[in-house]
Amino acid sequence: MAGIVSFGAYVPRYRLKRMTIFQAMGWINPTTIMLAQGEKAVANSDEDSLTMATAASIDCLDGFDRSLIDGLFFASTTMPYLERQNAGIIAGALNLRDDLRSADFSGALKSGTSALLSALEGVGSKNANQILVGVADCRLGKMGSPQEMIFGDGGAAFLVGNQEVIAEFKGSYSLTCDFVDHYRGSKTIFDRQWEDRWIRDLGFDEFIPKAINGLLKQCNLKLSDFSRVIFQCSYDSERKNLVKRLKLDPEKIQDPMHGSIGETGTAHSPLMLARALEEAKPGDKLLVVSFGSGCDALYFEVTDQISKKKKGMGVQGHLANRADLPSYPKYAVFRGMLPVDIGLRGEADFLTRWSLVWRKRKAVLGLVGSRCQKCGTPQYPPQRVCANPACGAVDEMEDYPFAGKKGRILSYTGDMLAASYDPPELYGYVEFEGGGRFMCNFTDCTLEDLKVGAPVSFSFRKKYYDEKRDIQGYFWKAVPRKEVA
């Protein structure tokens, strides 16, 4: 029986209070005061949809054998590349097999659930044993826009399979409608939308019930059979309206987390599903509905395998890991909306050599080093000649993945001279548990968080952006973590 085997989520650490946005931009659009409650999660300057989907996937795959994954689907409407498969980059970061099915799902906010559906159908038809679905969005509204208030950043991931499923897939119903409540052309960055009332009345009000009723009819169920009803709707007032219209038990409605995360687009209904699964009990029936160019409605039934699911960071853990982003201009600079002077040093040209990137793909994307089979010394970057002065063996190495290891800080600094979007630039030497070391950037922390000996884990992040050639480069950074007793 096809279903969800594991799930994960990622909410970025930085939180921007909506009042901070209003204080900076409310002068141009005072109506946004109506939306200025709570806070939203915003990606750090080194994060994007791809890194967030990777982070959610890592959360999902904790304790799972990645060599069993046959496919990877990535869904987002804000992918860094139009052509260079984004899922392929994530596959590299996760160190998945080469003989992998993969696809990028894009074009609509329902792409997340569409990817999930395709994955479920893929394992259901036995064409694949396990497929990983990663979903994330990092959408941008113009400065001072309601979208800017509403949008948040985040990601979720699901490992889909046939064995030991924690939530069995029972059925789906989809609608495809060219209902342009909002859109982005291929050359634009900012979301544009039509009138709110029209979107509510002819969009959410029409399609969500239609999708739900379609599923209920197909599966011969009543709405009251469901333990949780998860549906995407960016308007909180409309959500209340739908609850009344559909005669839903308000207790069963999944919290959209608008006040703590925001509307995460493609990732939203998946993120809500992940949150629901964190609290779900065996026997719970879950109904998930996405919205964007139509709807996907999916029905899952939680099994008793759910109690065996290892507790990851998930939505809850990531929500708790928060830091204030107290400055709106900083947010705007992070998102490239304000032209900032990063100094001449930042203008140094760096040519991405694709032949080198291909040759070193495992080391760079996957943080895969080598371990000497003769003396057992792990080393990064991968070496052919063993670095152990007592060994020196040549070509007796095996691949050794470092990304999942913990580490400790050996040295660090906060560099005010380096070109940085969030000075001071933090970096230093990190020693991996078990051996090996390298120099890397620290992220999601301040200089004061760094101490020699402090523990770190590793996160896949944006490394550089070549503006001239529109190339987004990635690598790993160290994140200080709280010492766990």
């Binding site: 990063i342 100094g343 001449l344 005010m416 001279l417 940085s420 000075p423 001071p424 004061e448």
Partner: protein
């Protein structure tokens, strides 16, 4: 207890390609003690300091006695107690960041 020699305000200290100076001395209350801090600015002609200069704050410590002596070159000397507790540093740093946005570098001497 440490002795801190007050630098002359608005007097440039030259280094390669630029200079730094202190513009203001300040004191704030924290948990019943007086935190002594100085606001400084560095102006760099040859852009060696990131984007051409910086605003910084130095915190010599809690005031034990204020300007009670003189150095050889005629500058006041105060007695201070260095602030080493991490929690105090974090809170005081936050207070100073809010009071002086843009003064990114805050160092406890």
């Amino acid at each position: 207890m440490d002795k801190y020699i007050h630098p002359e305000l608005n007097k440039k200290v030259e280094f390669f390609g630029g200079s730094y100076l202190f513009v203001e001395e300040g004191r704030l209350n924290y948990q019943g003690k007086e935190v002594f801090y100085l606001l400084g600015m560095a102006g760099v002609e040859s852009s060696c300091c990131g984007t051409g200069g910086c605003a910084f704050i130095k915190v010599p410590g809690y005031v034990l006695s204020w300007k009670k002596g003189w150095s050889e070159s005629g500058q006041s000397i105060s007695e201070v107690e260095r602030i080493v507790a991490e929690e105090s540093q974090t809170t005081i740093r936050k207070i100073l960041q809010e009071k002086y946005p843009g003064f990114q570098q805050i160092e406890f001497l």
